[in-house]
Assembly symmetry: C2
Homo-oligomer: 625 residues x 2
C-alpha cells in the first residue's frame, strides 16, 4: 500500500507533516514539563498520527465547534492531553501561551484530562475504554439520524483494549455497520507499569478487530505516507475501521524513546530542553486542515406538546408501563431517542420502539455501551433515554460517573427496583441504585409511586440537564393522582395530612403505598399520620420535610425499598442536617440479604412493609404493640 | 470428530444420557411451572450439555462440596436455574420434592437465580457476563496456586457474550493459558426479546474466541456424542477452551422449541403436562458422575503474624504507600493474594508484587475482571486484595454488588481518592466511592488518615468477612498515631478534645488533617474544637458521635473529600437519625465539578479546606468571620 499511497503525498507535504509532528511533540513536552505532570511519552507516540489526521482528513471548522457538519475527534486515551492541546494550538484554537502557561493549572480549561470545558471536546475522557463507546453513539447519530457525512475519529491507547467496553463498542460498530467511525489505536506496547498484554502483536489485534466486524488496517504509525493512506481508506470504507498503528512510546526523544518507566512522567527541565532542541525547537506552525462541507440547515420541526398517557385513579399500573407509555408520547419530538439493553419488553421501552423504530437503538446486553451511546447521541443534540433493570445500570456506573463529568444531558431508567420484584431474587433487584445515582455529579433522581406521576416526570426529563435517573417498579400499584396534577422535579406530594398529624410517613415509589396502608391502620388507632410522596429524591423538597418536622414534633418514618445506606433515608437526613429542631427519624430499609418470594413476603421480611411502618410510628410515639 | 467420538460412547450410554437429559428437561419444566415463573426454555437448550457433563466429565463429590479436589460448575447464565437445580436433583444433592415444591418460594434456598445459599454454588449469578470472569479467578487459583487438577466449567448464554466482561475474561484466560477453564456457550440464538446479534453465526463466535486466545470447539449441542467428545477434548486441552454449542431454545417441547417470545416464561399447566408427557414423563434417575481424585491434604502453613511497617510520627507518608507496605507484610501468609488493574506502581500494590510475585496477578486495565478474579480466588479460600484507582472501581460496581450477594470475602483498595489528587482532574478522582461502597450488602468501608492506621486496617482486612473497601490518598500527610495504637474496624480516634469542646470536627482520610489545622485555628480564637478521625466509615463508631453531640451541644462539622451525597456525612447522619437530642450538622463536601489544580487549591475550592471548616464551626456557634 505504501507505494501506491506515496503517490498521494509530495515531498513538500511530507516535510510539512513532519514539521507539524515535531511541533506537536515539542509542545507536548513543553506544556507537561512546565506543569510538572502529564503524559508526554503517550503523546509523542501518536503525534505523527495526529499531524496527518488534522492536516488532511479531519474536516473541522475550528471557529465553529458546534457545526453539525464537523467531524468528531475523541481522545479515548485522554491522558494524551498534551498532544490534544498541542493540536488545538496548531489549528489556532488556543494560543501557545495558554498551552504552555496554563496546562493543568488551577482554573485552566486545559485540565489534566480533556473535558468539555473546551468547546472542541465532546466528552470527558480519562477513564480508559470510554471514548470509543461514546464515539459509537456519535456515529449512530450521524449515520442513522443526522444523515450527515461527518466522520468520528477516536484515538485509542493499546492498553485500553483490555477493557471489555472497547469490545462492546467494536461489536456495536460492526453490528450497526458504522462506516463513519474509525478507531486509531496507538500501539506503543507500553502501559503504565510495563508492557501491554499483546505488546506489538499487531496480528492478534487485527484478528480480534476483524472478528468483531471492523476493517483493520495495520500500519507503521510513524510512516506519514502510510498513515495518510490508511486514514483515507478509513474514511472511504463501507464499515467501521480500526487503524492499528505500531508506534514507539516517547518517539522522537532518544533518551526516552521505546523505554519503560516513562509513563505519566514529565521530562525534567534539562531533558526537555535537549528534547526540544533535538526536535528542532519550538515552532508556531498553523495548520489549516480540510473544512467540512456546509451542513444543510437543520429543520427544527415544531415540537408538539406530548399527549401524555392518562390513567384511572385506583387502577393498578406498574410505573414501568407508564415509563413506556410516556416515552411513546414524548416520542413525538424528533430529538427523543431511546436505547435499551435487550430488556425492552421488561422496561417497556418497547412501547417507544414500536412507535418510532428509527429512533430506537438496541444495545443488546452491554450496559456500558448502552450508556456510552446515550452520551454520544446527546453530543449531537438528541435527548436519549436509556433503560435496563436498575440493578444492571450498576454495570455502567463508571460511564455514568464520567457522563456527569462530561456534563452530558441524558435520561436513564432503571426498572425492577428493590425487593418488590419478588421471585427473581437479589441479583435482579436494584438495591443500591439510589445511593449510586445520587452521588453522581449533576444528577437528578426520581422515583414515582404511580403511573400519573411517572409519566409527568418522564416528560420533564426530556429537557432536563445532567444525568436524570428514573427508578421504576415492576408490579402494578394503584394510580394515586389526577392526570392533571403537577409533579415538578424537586417537589413532593402530600397524600395524607391534617392538623393533628403526630408522625410523618415518608416514602417514594412502592413504599408510598405501604405508607398509605400504614396511615390507614394508624388512623384506626386514632394516630394522625402524614404521608409524603418524595418522588423527587434529588433534588429533594426540603420545605415539605421541614413542615413535617415542625408539625409532628420531629417524628419521621422514612421507608425505602433500598439498602440502608445512601438512599432516600440519607437524602432526607442530609436535607435536614442543619435544622435546629430535634428530629427523630425511624429509617426503614432493606437490612438483610433478600431472597426469592412474593413482593409482599419480601417487603415484610425486609422490614419495609405496612406492619413495620406502623410499628416504627408507634415506637416514635412511645407506644408499643 | 463425531465418527471418532462415537467409538467412545456405547448405545446404552447414549440412551442413558438421553434419558437423563429428558429428566433434566422435565424437571426444569415442572419446577418453573409450579413456581409460576422462571426460565424453562433457557434450561431446555442446555439440558443435553449438562447431562453429558455431569455424567461423564464433571469430577465432583456431591457429598463434600468443599473438597478442594472438586471441579467447579458455574452457571454464568444464572437464569437457567431450573436446569441447575434439576442437575442437583439428578446427582442426589436435593430431593425431587425440594425442587418442585420450593423453587422460587419464600424461604427456599432454590432462589430464582443461584446463590451460595446452596453449598454447590460458588457464587451468585444472574447479572450476565459475570460467571465466566469469576471462573477465570477460580482457574487461576487451581493452575497457579493450588496446583490441583480440578477443572472449571462455565455455562454461558449466547446473549451474554455481548457483555465486554466476557471478553475481558477470555483475554485473561488466554493470557494466563488457563487449561483448566472451559466455557460452554449455549448458542440458542434467542435473547430475552428476540434474536441475538450473531444468531447462529458460529463461525464468527469461533473467530472471536480464537482471536482471544482460546481453543474453540463448535458442536451441535444436542448431539450427545459430539458433546461428550468436545468436553473430553476440553479437559485435555493445553489452554482455555470454549465449546460453541448450537442449540434450540425450548428443545424437546415442539410447541415452544426454537420459537421467540418464550424467554423467561413458565409453561402453563396444560402445556407443561403435554410437554412432560412428550418427554416421557417424570423420572427419578440418579446420576453418579466421575469423582475427583483425592486432593493431597492441604498443608496449612503456620500463619506468621504480620510484621507491620512502622512509621515515624510526623513523617509525611501517603496512605497508599502504607497500603503497599502492609500488603507486603501480610504477604507472609500464603493465602494472601494480590491483584491490580495495571496501576500497581500508583496503588503501591507493586510492593507486594516485588516480594511475592507468584501470588500477584496483573489484570491489566480490566477492572471488572480484576474484581471477578478476586471473587474467584476467594472461592478457593484465598484472601484477595484487588486495587486500582478509587474512581475506576466504579467500572466494576456491578461485580462488587454481585460479590456482596455472593457473600464473598474480598478486599478492595481504591487509591487517588477525592480532589486531593490534584492536577489529573476529575476523571481520576474517586468522589462517589464512599456512597457506592457503603450501599453494597455486607460491606466494610475504611478511610484512614495516616500510614499507621492504614497499615493496621489492612492487617484486619485479611480475615474480615464480606466486601472490604479501603480508600487511600495520593499525597503524603503526617503520621498521626503511634505504631502500637489500635484501630479496630468500627472504631474511631479522638485526636483533639477536652471538657470545653463546643464543636466537633469530624473527618476521615485527608480531611482529618484539615480538621486538625482548623481546630488549631479555632483554639487560637478560644474555641474548643474536638477532632474525630472516623477511619471506619462503615461500620461507624456511633458511641463516639453520640458523646460528641452531648458534649458540644449537638454542633458537628462533618467534612469529606467526596461528593455531598451518600458519603461520610450521610453515614454520620444515619448513625444519629434516631437520637432524641437536637443535632446540627454542617456538612462540607465537594459540591461542584472539580478541575485540575494543586491539592490545596482544589480542597479550598471544594469547600473542604481548613478555612471552610473554621467558618462552618464559627457559624454553628453563631459567630461570623
Amino acid at each position: 500500500m505504501t507505494m501506491e499511497a506515496a503517490r498521494t503525498l509530495r515531498d513538500e507535504e511530507i516535510h510539512q507533516l513532519g514539521e507539524l509532528a515535531a511541533q506537536l511533540r515539542v509542545d507536548a513536552i513543553r506544556c507537561s514539563t512546565r506543569a510538572g505532570s502529564g503524559h508526554p511519552t503517550s503523546s509523542l507516540s501518536a503525534a505523527d498520527l495526529l499531524a496527518v489526521l488534522i492536516s488532511r482528513h479531519l474536516r473541522y471548522d475550528w471557529a465553529d465547534p458546534d457545526s453539525p457538519a464537523n467531524d468528531h475527534l475523541i481522545f479515548s486515551k485522554g491522558h494524551a492531553s498534551p498532544l490534544l492541546y498541542a493540536v488545538f494550538k496548531a489549528v489556532g484554537a488556543i494560543t501557545d501561551q495558554e498551552l504552555v502557561d496554563t496546562y493543568r493549572a488551577f482554573g485552566s480549561r486545559l485540565q489534566g484530562h480533556p473535558t468539555p470545558a473546551l468547546p472542541w471536546v465532546d466528552v470527558a475522557t480519562g477513564s480508559l475504554g470510554q471514548g470509543l463507546p461514546v464515539g459509537v453513539g456519535i456515529a449512530l447519530a450521524g449515520q442513522y439520524l443526522d444523515h450527515l457525512p461527518f466522520h468520528v475519529w477516536v484515538l485509542c491507547g493499546d492498553s485500553e483494549t483490555a477493557e471489555g467496553s472497547i469490545w462492546e463498542a467494536l461489536d456495536k460498530a460492526g453490528h450497526y455497520g458504522l462506516r463513519n467511525l474509525t478507531a486509531v489505536v496507538d500501539v506503543n506496547r507500553f502501559g503504565q507499569r510495563g508492557t501491554t498484554e499483546l505488546e506489538w502483536d499487531l496480528d492478534t489485534y487485527r484478528r480480534r478487530m476483524e472478528a468483531f466486524g471492523c476493517q483493520a488496517i495495520v500500519i507503521d504509525g510513524h510512516d506519514l505516507v502510510a498513515v495518510d493512506d490508511a486514514l483515507r481508506r478509513a474514511r472511504q470504507a463501507t464499515g467501521p475501521t480500526v487503524l492499528l498503528a505500531r508506534t514507539l512510546k516517547g518517539k522522537g526523544v532518544p533518551e526516552i524513546e521505546n523505554k519503560p518507566d516513562w509513563h505519566g512522567k514529565p521530562l525534567k527541565a534539562d531533558l526537555a530542553e535537549r528534547a526540544v532542541s533535538a526536535l528542532g525547537g519550538t515552532r508556531q506552525i498553523r495548520v489549516t486542515g480540510p473544512r467540512p462541507e456546509p451542513a444543510p440547515p437543520a429543520t427544527a420541526p415544531a415540537a408538539e406538546p406530548p399527549d401524555l398517557p392518562r390513567y384511572d385513579r385506583g387502577a393498578k399500573v406498574p410505573t414501568r408501563n407508564a415509563y413506556g407509555d410516556a416515552l411513546r408520547a414524548v416520542g413525538r419530538r424528533p430529538d427523543v431517542v431511546v436505547l435499551d439493553g435487550e430488556v425492552s419488553d421488561s422496561t417497556r421501552a418497547d412501547r417507544f420502539a414500536g412507535a418510532y423504530p428509527d429512533r430506537f437503538f438496541e444495545m443488546f446486553i452491554s450496559e456500558q455501551q448502552l450508556v456510552a451511546a446515550a452520551v454520544g447521541l446527546q453530543v449531537r443534540g438528541y435527548r436519549p433515554f436509556a433503560s435496563t433493570f436498575a440493578a444492571f445500570l450498576s454495570r455502567a456506573y463508571d460511564f455514568i460517573r464520567m457522563a456527569g463529568i462530561s456534563q452530558a444531558d441524558i435520561a436513564l431508567s432503571g426498572s425492577h427496583a428493590g425487593v418488590e420484584i419478588g421471585a427473581d431474587g437479589p441479583s435482579q433487584m436494584g438495591l443500591e441504585d439510589l445511593a449510586a445515582m445520587r452521588a453522581v455529579h449533576g444528577s437528578t433522581v426520581l422515583y414515582p409511586s404511580d403511573a400519573v406521576s411517572c409519566a409527568a416526570l418522564v416528560a420533564q426529563m426530556v429537557d432536563r440537564k445532567g444525568i436524570n435517573y428514573l427508578r421504576t417498579t415492576r408490579g402494578g400499584y394503584p394510580v394515586l393522582y389526577d392526570n392533571d396534577d403537577a409533579f415538578p422535579v424537586g417537589g413532593s406530594k402530600l397524600l395524607r395530612g391534617g392538623d393533628d398529624d403526630r408522625v410523618a410517613l415518608i416514602g417514594a415509589g412502592v413504599t408510598v403505598h405501604n405508607s398509605l396502608a400504614a396511615a390507614d391502620e394508624l388512623a384506626r388507632e386514632g394516630i394522625g399520620a402524614r404521608v409524603i410522596d418524595l418522588y423527587s429524591v434529588k433534588p429533594l423538597d426540603r420545605d415539605r420535610l421541614v413542615d413535617a418536622v415542625r408539625d409532628t414534633g420531629g417524628r419521621l418514618v422514612v421507608v425505602e425499598d433500598h439498602y440502608p445506606e445512601g438512599g432516600l433515608g440519607s437524602a432526607v437526613l442530609e436535607a435536614l442536617a442543619d435544622l435546629p429542631e430535634p428530629v427523630r427519624v425511624a429509617h426503614l430499609a432493606v437490612g438483610g440479604l433478600p431472597t426469592s418470594g412474593t413482593p409482599t413476603e419480601l417487603m415484610d421480611q425486609a422490614g419495609i412493609g405496612t406492619g413495620a411502618i406502623v410499628a416504627a410510628a408507634r415506637a416514635l410515639l412511645g407506644k408499643t404493640g
